[in-house]
Each structure stands twice: as structure tokens, then as C-alpha cells.
């Protein structure tokens, strides 16, 4: 049983971000107050999700290049882990919104983007389950995965910049990068992002391995 270095690094970074995120000094801003610490947990989930979806799409592209079944299983595992992170990101965001904006849900392009992203990937899982033939299931869902990722990037990347948003950095709201994400917060934020991406990949890898074991057991 050897533990790969990146898994240790991921766990250490996440641990560091939890401890430092709760203990290190943060700038005191109106309305946000101490809830600004949620930045280390809420925003990192989205970074983690987008990277996992990106890895998933890359696996789908590689699947279409040679039709290696394991790539398809990897794509599914990565997408479902990304979905899990999206749920976590949405929950943390909703709690944060309740304390800063006053409601759990506002009509905001970023929130709509999230909702649509989740719908797209739920559709991906439904598509996977509705095809019985394994070969065509893998192929069709790989194609949809690529299409879905491109559309998701269009939605969460391009559209919010065309309209106003309550989120920092849009529609006249200052971005964290301007002044309030000061250097001490960066020291926690960026390691946390990397840590969650690594931990997410690890979870996805475990899911993939469980899936492989299940398939092997069925075939026996």
C-alpha cells in the first residue's frame, strides 16, 4: 500500500486551509464580517468542480480516441465527483447568501449558471442510464459530455460577464482580487483550491476503482 505524493499533498493542503482558514486574520468588511472565511470553502468547491469536469471531458475525448472502456468509467467517476462538489458549493453558497444577501436564492447569473450546470450533468447521468448497450452507452455519453462541458463553459464563463451580478467582480461589485483578497487570504485561498482539486481527483479515483471491482465481480 503506497500512498502517492499528490494524495498526501492534497490532504495536507486541505487540512492547512481548514486550520488557517478558521484561525488566520481576515479583513473586516461590512456585511461580510467573519463570513468571508467561507471563501476558502465555497469558492474552492467551484474551482474543484470545474477542474474535475475538465478532467472528465479530457477522459471522454481520450475515450473517443481508441475506445478504451476504462476511460469512459473514469469520465463518469470524475463527473459524479464534480457533481458532488457542485452540491457542496451550492449549499455553502446558499448559506452564505442567507447571511449576506438575506435570501437563500437570488436571481443572479452565477446562480443560474450553477443550476444549469447541475441540470446538464444530471441529464448526462440520465443519458448514461437510458442506454443498455455498453458500447454505445460509452460512446454516446462521451459525446454528450464534451458538448455539455463546452456549453457549461459558455454559460458560466461568458454570460455572467454580459449581465449584472451580485457576486464580487461583476456589475460594479468589487472583485475580491481588487483589495479585499489581501495577501494573507491568498496564502490560504490558492493552496485550498489546489488541495480540493487533488482530494477531488482522489475521490474520483476511488469511485473508479470501486466501479472496476464491481464490474469484475459481475463478470466472474
Amino acid at each position: 500500500m503506497q500512498l502517492k505524493w499528490w494524495k498526501i499533498l492534497g490532504v495536507l493542503l486541505v487540512l492547512y486551509s481548514i486550520i488557517a482558514g478558521l484561525l488566520m486574520p481576515v479583513p473586516h468588511l461590512d456585511i461580510l464580517n467573519e463570513t468571508i472565511r467561507n471563501l476558502y470553502f465555497h469558492v474552492t468547491m467551484w474551482f474543484g468542480m470545474i477542474f474535475l469536469m475538465l478532467f472528465s471531458m479530457i477522459q471522454s475525448v481520450r475515450f473517443l480516441n481508441g475506445f478504451d472502456k476504462t476511460r469512459d468509467l473514469k469520465a463518469e467517476a470524475l463527473a459524479s465527483t464534480g457533481m458532488f462538489m457542485a452540491v457542496l458549493g451550492l449549499t455553502t453558497g446558499m448559506i452564505w447568501a442567507q447571511f449576506t444577501w438575506g435570501t437563500f436564492w437570488v436571481n443572479d447569473p452565477k446562480l443560474n449558471g450553477t443550476a444549469v450546470t447541475m441540470l446538464i450533468y444530471l441529464a448526462y447521468f440520465i443519458l448514461r442510464n437510458s442506454i443498455e448497450n455498453e458500447d454505445s452507452r460509452a460512446r454516446v455519453s462521451a459525446i454528450y459530455n464534451i458538448l455539455a462541458f463546452v456549453m457549461m463553459i459558455v454559460f458560466i464563463g461568458v454570460l455572467p460577464r454580459m449581465t449584472d451580478s451580485l457576486h464580487p467582480g461583476n456589475g460594479g461589485n468589487p472583485a475580491f482580487g481588487n483589495y479585499d483578497l489581501n495577501s494573507s487570504m491568498r496564502m490560504v485561498f490558492y493552496p485550498a483550491v489546489i488541495g480540493w482539486i487533488l482530494v477531488g481527483s482522489w475521490i474520483a479515483q476511488l469511485r473508479f476503482r470501486i466501479k472496476v471491482l464491481e464490474i469484475n465481480k459481475e463478470n466472474k
Binding site: S136, A142, A148
Partner: protein, 218 residues
């Protein structure tokens, strides 16, 4: 390749003209939904509802129209086509045909819809440009999704589930562009949005061009 695309588009036009009832059913759909909208709003409708309702009607008409596009190809005639044509030519031809069909359908819907519910659009030229680009973008996404959905057992049900979230950015953009067309005559104000529509169009066609060959060979 171009020759093949041309032949395939002509084939589609001829075949669908022979089975005109499908075209008539789409027109009837637009007519009846517009009439329902007219009855439920009692002829008085504010401008943003007008725009939203228009695009929702068009969206469902488009979904119905493109659902039928792979009815033939992926079933009994699939092998025959497989030996005859390049898959890239097939998807390009389908996308072209569906775009043309949808542009005509949307323009007719615009006419019928305006008769029942009035026409608050001031920038007619920009709006028609928006209709043309928007329907062809709708068509190019829906054609690929129809191809994907036709591979499953429950294609009609899955079509809506798969395409709705994918069409969200497009639909929002179309509604926004149309709202600009409500007030401003100048083309350049809607220019950014129209550029986005054009780019989305290109991206969708490119994706279908790249991905369809994998879907096709079974």
C-alpha cells in the same frame, strides 16, 4: 463533400415535402399555441412577456421539428447511408436543412404571433437578424442532441431533458437581444449579442462536425 451535402439537403427537402403532414403539424402547433397565448392574455400583454413567450413557443416548435430529423437515418436506412455518404456531410446537411426549416418556421411564427398579440418590436431588421441567427443556433444544437437522443430507447422524452439545459444560454441571450430590439432602432446596440449568437452558431456546428462521426458508426 460539398456535393454530398447538397445532395443530402435536397433529399431531405424532397422527402419532407412528400410527407407534408409533419410540416403542417408544426404550423398548427404554432397557430394553436399563439392562439392559447392570445386567449390567456386577453390580447393585453406586456413587452417582456411577449418576448419570453415568443421564444418559448419557438423553442418547443424547434424541439418538435428536430426530433424527427434522425427518425429515418438511424434506423433501417442507417447502413445504406453509411455506405454512401461521409458522416460529416450527413450532419452538415441535417444542420443546414434544420436551420433553413427553423428559420422559415420562426419567421412564420413571428407573423402569426404578431397578428394575435401585436408587434412591439421597433428594430425589425435587428430582430429578423436575431431570428435568423437564433434559429440556426437552435437548429445546430438540437440536431446534434437529436442524433444523441435517437440512440436511446426513449428519444422523445430524453430530447427535452438533454437539450433544455444546453439551450439555456442561447435562450437567455435571445430574450435579451429581443428586449434590446424592443426599444432601440440602432443595430450596433444589439451588436454584441448578435456577435455572441454567431459565435455560438459556429461553435455548435464545429462540435457536431467533430463529434458526429463517432456517433454514426455503430
Amino acid at each position: 463533400m460539398l456535393q454530398q451535402v447538397k445532395e443530402l439537403v435536397l433529399k431531405d427537402i424532397r422527402l419532407n415535402w412528400r410527407e407534408r403532414y409533419a410540416l403542417y403539424s408544426m404550423l398548427l402547433y404554432v397557430l394553436s399555441t399563439s392562439y392559447v397565448a392570445y386567449l390567456s392574455f386577453e390580447g393585453v400583454i406586456n413587452e417582456s412577456s411577449w418576448v419570453a413567450l415568443f421564444w418559448i413557443i419557438v423553442l418547443f416548435a424547434a424541439m418538435n421539428a428536430s426530433l424527427q430529423s434522425f427518425k429515418r437515418e438511424l434506423n433501417y436506412q442507417a447502413l445504406f447511408f453509411y455506405t454512401l455518404a461521409d458522416p460529416r456531410a450527413i450532419i452538415l446537411a441535417k444542420t443546414l436543412y434544420n436551420s433553413g426549416l427553423l428559420i422559415v418556421l420562426t419567421l412564420i411564427s413571428y407573423l402569426i404571433y404578431s397578428i394575435f398579440l401585436g408587434n412591439p418590436i421597433t428594430a425589425n431588421l435587428s430582430f429578423i437578424l436575431c431570428i435568423v441567427l437564433g434559429s440556426s443556433a437552435l437548429a445546430s444544437v438540437l440536431t446534434l442532441v437529436a442524433a444523441i437522443a435517437s440512440k436511446t430507447n426513449n428519444s422523445a422524452g430524453l430530447m427535452a431533458v438533454l437539450s433544455m439545459p444546453l439551450l439555456f444560454p442561447l435562450l437567455l441571450n435571445l430574450i435579451k437581444t429581443s428586449q434590446i430590439c424592443l426599444v432601440e432602432e440602432e443595430l450596433f446596440l444589439a451588436g454584441n449579442q448578435i456577435l455572441f449568437l454567431a459565435l455560438l452558431n459556429i461553435a455548435c456546428v464545429l462540435l457536431s462536425y467533430l463529434l458526429f462521426p463517432y456517433l454514426w458508426r455503430d
